[in-house]
């Protein structure tokens, strides 16, 4: 077998077998499963403890029924029951834990509702808000009937205004589509961001480990450093694809299983109902290109250090580039057509995330995406040629080396003159 493939599979299989890789993969699979089964999980916890028991002490005798009706509309999980007895008794019942809280209903001098809520703690603000809103509705109805508005007049008063957004550009995404795209792009951006950081780190560590354990000198006397570098990059790339394939297939099947319940939930809003094939294709392209860009960078940075402790320091500037790209992309989610975003999408170190954001969110001409990809590929090629030369010298360099001056030294080592 060609030595390129021997190194590739050696890297791949050895990394695949490491405990940390298996644990991260399993943990992420669990998270994916949890996310896609969110509705079921919430149901399990809500089976018994979900209902909140609230006692209502209605002094007026006429507010309880309309109040209960309103509460039911707003939140099905709040269970109201009338309480017969004194306020003291009711408070005792709360203290004993039979009720979550009590609502005292009364009328003020204008014949409008007046209420007090008592509970052991008032930390649960969402329930209080629900109760408050319900009572507000009751009050509005009462007040309206006092000034003799008809139901039809009342409805008119509360009717929402009609206000529509329309994009004039042909094929522009509708508001709904934009929302969907945003969710999908957001998730894919995260995947690109994390993978690039994680796997680029892995490569730098791998190279530095071989250097610091001094096995490098044997390796480069058997196989050319350039071949080694690319075998390693492709090997780890294969690893990342394996991991992604596991996540995606687990996510996809789990998602299919829970399709019905999820479509109604937040996932539907965020565009997971039907995923456009184009977006996925671009995601894969930009994922792979982004990986190669940063992996090459990481490999030659890793070749410059001689101790593993120095790796982080060396690749920090690179990590910052990734973070910057991600930040800009996050900003761009809200304003994808800003000229700032357009410009940065052509800067190769940001292209994988920002150009992807643009193709995912906007309808940009295909040549723009292709130019971005072209610049990216050209940068990767230049970086690979330059990186390979640095790598070749860098792996022979030992000693105090954690500055960028070493790039020059490494290049000098490979020079003939």
């Amino acid at each position: 077998m060609n030595s390129f493939w021997i190194i590739l599979f050696h890297t791949y299989i050895n990394k695949l077998k490491t405990k940390s890789f298996i644990i991260t993969t399993l943990l992420t699979v669990l998270i994916v499963l949890a996310l896609t089964n969110l509705n079921n999980i919430i149901d399990i916890f809500d089976k018994d403890g979900g209902k909140e028991n609230i006692a209502v002490l209605d002094e007026t005798g006429q507010l309880y029924e309309p109040f209960k009706k309103q509460v039911k509309l707003i939140n099905k999980d709040i269970k109201l029951s009338p309480f017969e007895g004194s306020v003291d008794n009711a408070e005792k019942a709360v203290e004993e834990g039979r009720y979550q809280g009590i609502v005292l209903l009364a009328m003020n001098e204008e014949n409008l509702p007046l209420a007090t809520y008592k509970a052991m703690s008032i930390a649960d603000s969402s329930m209080f808000t629900d109760l408050n809103t319900s009572l507000q509705q009751v009050k509005t109805m009462l007040a309206a009937s006092q000034i003799q508005l008809t139901a039809a007049q009342l409805e008119k008063l509360y009717e929402p205004v009609s206000f529509e957004k329309i994009a004039l550009e042909k094929n522009a995404k509708t508001e709904e589509e934009l929302n969907q795209a945003r969710g999908l792009v957001y998730v894919l951006l995260f995947i690109i961001y994390f993978s690039v950081i994680m796997y680029a780190n892995m490569i730098a560590m791998e190279v530095a480990t071989e250097k610091s354990s001094r096995v490098m000198e044997i390796l480069i006397s058997s196989v050319s450093p350039i071949k080694q570098m690319f075998a390693k990059i492709v090997g780890i790339g294969l690893l990342s694809l394996t991991q992604l394939a596991v996540f995606l297939s687990v996510g996809y099947f789990s998602f299919k299983q829970n399709m019905e319940s999820l479509k109604e939930g937040f996932m539907g809003v965020y565009g997971f109902g039907d995923i456009p094939f184009e977006t996925i294709l671009y995601a894969v392209i930009f994922f792979i290109l982004g990986y190669f860009l940063y992996a090459t960078l990481a490999a030659f940075l890793g070749s410059l250090v001689s101790r593993i402790e120095d790796v982080q320091q060396m690749i920090t500037p690179m990590t910052l580039l990734v973070v910057a790209g991600f930040m800009i992309a996050m900003f761009g989610l809200g304003k994808p057509d800003a000229s700032f975003i357009t410009v940065t999408s052509f800067i190769p170190f940001f292209t994988p995330m920002i150009m992807f954001l643009r193709v995912g969110m906007l309808t940009i001409p295909i040549w723009e995406a292709l130019i971005g990809i072209g610049i990216l590929v050209a940068t990767i090629t230049i970086l690979a040629i330059f990186g390979a030369r640095v790598y070749r010298g860098g792996v022979l360099m030992y000693g105090q080396s954690n500055s960028f001056k070493d790039i020059k030294k490494a290049l000098q080592l490979t020079k003939k003159e």
């Binding site: 030595s3 480990t209 354990s213 001094r214 096995v215 000198e217 196989v223 490979t414 003939k416």
Partner: protein, 299 residues
């Protein structure tokens, strides 16, 4: 399969690491490289292996430069020892052997033979980091020779080993030579080179100061060592004409003299002065030659 270095020079910026080095290493011979730290031994090896490009000159083996197409014929033990600490001995050797173009099954049989030979068969499935330094070095040696190289380059193969292991490794190196490998090795230890090499080269600051076969080097050096143990004071001999160097010891005196004829004169001079316990004329050791050529700064 002669390894030839012709006017090889290597410069790092303004610094000249190897300066106009010309050597010829005959096939199936053992060649010793001597030199102080920083003399350019490792740089020379790296150039021979093609890891570094020479700034000038030519290196050929069997008329062709050494590159990755011949890597399965070449074995290399670097000065800085290193293996994958987390990998098992077996996986390690198989991986490195495969990179040198060996089949997996063959590498495994070869590995077993070597482990038995070094009396450490139980380490096959241990991780390298669990082994002692000496044993790691044996594994490293196996990694360099497992694919039966025709050209073996050993950078300080015996450093850091106890005498028993040095003997074991020496025997292994000699048996490789008998099997037809050309071996180039460097050492700080003169006695190893003296004992094992037919040809040698002493490097100083990148240029060869002595170069040739061991016998010739000794012969052409001319000077001899004279050891005299006697009951009377020999201090007067220190300034005797023809004595280059002298060192008083507990039992007598060690002299370095310009030639055999001086010994004859000295013997005549002292024979009547009293009882002479020992009078011995010795070949110069490589150590003497080294110190003479490279200077006393070296220890």
């Amino acid at each position: 399969m002669v390894l030839k270095l012709e006017h090889v020079t290597k410069k790092f910026g303004d610094f000249t690491a190897v300066d106009d080095l010309s050597l010829e290493i005959p096939d199936k011979e053992m060649f010793g490289f001597l030199g102080a730290n920083g003399a350019g031994k490792t740089t020379t090896f790296r150039m021979i292996l093609g890891l570094l490009d020479a700034s000038g000159g030519k290196i050929t083996w069997d008329g062709k430069p050494i590159d990755y197409s011949t890597s399965h014929l070449v074995g290399y033990l670097p000065e800085e020892r290193g293996l994958y600490p987390k990998l098992k001995v077996r996986d390690q050797i198989v991986y490195l052997a495969r990179l040198r173009g060996m089949q997996k099954a063959k590498a495994l049989t070869e590995l077993k033979l070597w482990l038995d030979r070094f009396k450490i068969p139980e380490y096959e499935n241990k991780k390298v980091e669990e082994l002692s330094k000496g044993n790691q070095q044996k594994i490293q040696f196996i990694a360099a020779v497992v694919h039966k190289p025709k050209l073996l380059i050993l950078d300080e193969p015996f450093s850091g080993l106890d005498p028993v292991n040095v003997e074991m490794l020496k025997e292994a190196v000699l048996s490789l030579k008998e099997n037809g490998a050309t071996i180039v090795f460097s050492s700080h230890r003169m006695e190893h080179v003296e004992e094992m090499c037919e040809h040698l080269c002493i490097l100083q600051k990148g240029s060869p100061v002595v170069h040739g076969s061991l016998k010739e080097i000794k012969r052409s050096f001319g000077k001899k060592n004279l050891v005299i143990h006697a009951d009377f004071s020999l201090d007067s001999l220190k300034s005797y004409p023809g004595v280059v160097k002298s060192k008083t010891t507990m039992e007598g005196i060690h002299l370095q003299i310009e030639g055999e004829y001086i010994a004859e004169k000295i013997l005549k001079e002292i024979v009547n002065q009293g009882f002479i316990r020992k009078f011995s004329l010795e070949e110069p050791s490589l150590n003497d030659i080294f110190i003479e050529k490279v200077g006393d700064s070296y220890e």
